[in-house]
Symmetry: C2
Subunit: 364 residues, 2 copies
């Protein structure tokens, strides 16, 4: 079992990574505030793993309330959040209750926000069951729900007491979702960790083959990278660099997700195509070579990811990109690559270069 | 103008107290994060003070969005919170927007919780316009909404950047609400500040007569007392004493509010009658004399407050009291007085003494 300690001032917590961690309540027990937990899961994950978690907790005398929500990004809303509050209040959960998120990013965001706001804040543990949530949402403390007028518009920063990433849960993950998670893994190599990118180039086949050890290493190193970025900029207030660097490929990617209708492209798929666009635009600014861009495209492709965007029309891309939350004072700030392994936030890209990049990287 | 600095680690803020502070945007301007504010108010307060605040802000180039909610505790719910989110999103408010609460405790709780959760947290300024909110909710950072299954069940701790208490706004306050605020003022004297209680005994007529200087002094001293309690126990985690001491009279008071239906007794009125019960129970434990209990009753009465509870029946009191959030592990913990000016949290009171106290202090 790998253990990574996230150091965030008063709110530090460990991330445990390994095989078959769900069976052992001993991993959870030291982090429970009281003898009572509520497990929040969804209709896809609960049939696979809920009974394992509940049985192991009950064996050590912990009372469990299970709250099962429908599965999907479209349920990351007030109704689901209120279903959690209702379940907690019906079971008379008090401030000593610990909320456990068992599922992917949507469950983590919902349960985390419920934990941040139930009786003004209760303890929270994450058991992410997708690669994306293991390498992304388990670090950083972002929680929240969507609003009809915008994604993630309502939420809070709320750190878990523990994250438990069991690589065995990835065996049940559809291949497309595994690949989508790998897009974020590759991102950490590209923005700040060239040796990790080289490791990924050497081990991509093992990752796609769901080798437990390779996955555990990639998860740990991804979390470590994200943790270093987050520790420097916990509340996303840095003007340059900081957490914004984690958005490599995301502004182009959001345009793809919006343009195609949310859910048709997975977030990681859109980020992959967006990352190729960011690399191509970096080449046009003279920062990357053609060989660098090919290298970016190759590793994403080997992870089973799309490397071309859909042909929405360049103007429509720009329209969607300008709606991105990362636009500051009306200027489009993008995350680009100064070199492979080193990202920057910049407003340097000319309108014409962005248009040319979109046209070069999108196909029917 | 009086200025009190609240020292809470990284999140310190000033409380400005005085006459006619609303006119001067200079008081607000240094605490705005960007050139944009949203003022949250209600249909009672907005007609009185909104234009003063908006005009002064616009004069210094600040853009104002006003969001006006219906007035009353029953609107402290998800629908009102969502109306704030809708208003902020419709006006395209970004993370640099500052939310200003202009109203009493309900508006402060709603706007504060919206600030804690809009785009994962934006800046917040409180302009409390009732005595109760000036001396109570402006210190401590508690924000939230009610849930159909319980009061204040959903919320967050979120500190304002500034509190601006304008005593002039108290001139429009109904007499019952002024008295209800005085119940909390008197509480600070009783739980921890005997010299302040003596000052209140000497100056109660000026306070009831709404003398600006007397009110400003009482507000400052109340806030200072609450601030000292809160600074030691910001997140209400102390096992003994701590923020719990602020609940003198509140467990009995909650029973009155629940038993009579919320809104029929004002919170401060219920706390006043509950405070007399707490004093009487303290006498039965041998901690206070009969003269002490009379002293508590007299000062509350001079403030225009009820000093007897309604005759709900002792068993019904106990039933409502046991539903109070302050019950820990099933034992009824009460805040009682060791002496005038010194409160403690205790589980010492026998069932029979509590029953006798209720019977002694309640009338048709």
């Amino acid at each position: 079992m790998r253990c990574l300690n996230l150091a965030l001032a008063e709110r530090s917590y460990p991330i445990l990574i390994g095989n078959d961690l769900l069976q052992s309540a001993e991993n959870l027990q030291p982090y429970l505030r009281g003898p009572r937990v509520a497990v929040i899961s969804n209709t896809t994950v609960a049939p696979l793993y809920l009974s394992t978690v509940v049985t192991s907790l009950e064996k050590v005398g912990v009372g469990v309330t299970a709250i099962i929500l429908p599965d999907g990004e479209k349920f990351k809303n007030w109704e689901s959040l209120n279903a959690i509050y209702d379940g907690l209040l019906a079971a008379r959960c008090d401030r000593g209750t610990t909320l456990i998120a068992l599922g992917g990013g949507v469950i983590g965001d919902l349960a985390g926000f419920a934990a941040a706001t139930y009786q003004r804040g209760v303890s929270f543990i994450q058991i992410p069951t997708t690669l994306l949530s293991q390498v992304d949402s388990s670090v950083g403390g972002k929680t929240g729900i969507n609003h009809p007028r915008g994604k993630n518009m309502v939420g809070a920063f709320w750190q878990p007491k523990l994250v438990l990433a069991d690589t065995r849960t990835l065996r049940s993950l559809p291949a497309r979702e595994l690949s989508a998670g790998l897009a974020e893994v590759i991102k950490y190599g590209l923005i700040r960790d060239l040796p990790f990118l080289e490791w990924l180039e050497a081990n991509m086949d093992s990752l796609v083959g769901r080798d437990d050890d390779a996955l555990a290493y990639a998860i740990e190193r991804s979390c470590r990278n994200k943790a270093e970025v987050v520790a420097d900029d916990e509340f996303e207030t840095a003007k340059e660099g900081g957490r914004a660097l984690l958005n490599l490929g995301h502004t182009f990617g959001h345009a793809i997700e919006s343009g195609m209708g949310y859910g048709n492209w997975l977030h990681g798929e859109a980020v992959a195509a967006g990352t190729v666009m960011a690399a191509e635009l970096s080449r046009r600014l003279g920062w990357l070579s053609e060989a660098d861009v090919d290298r970016v495209r190759d590793i994403l492709q080997r992870a089973g990811l799309p490397v071309c965007g859909p042909m929405l029309g360049a103007e429509q891309y720009l329209e969607f990109m300008s709606h991105d939350k990362k636009v500051v004072d009306g200027r489009m700030r993008l995350v680009l690559l100064k070199s492979i392994g080193s990202a920057v936030t910049t407003s340097d890209a000319e309108h014409a270069d962005i248009l040319a990049t979109i046209n070069a990287c999108c196909h029917e």
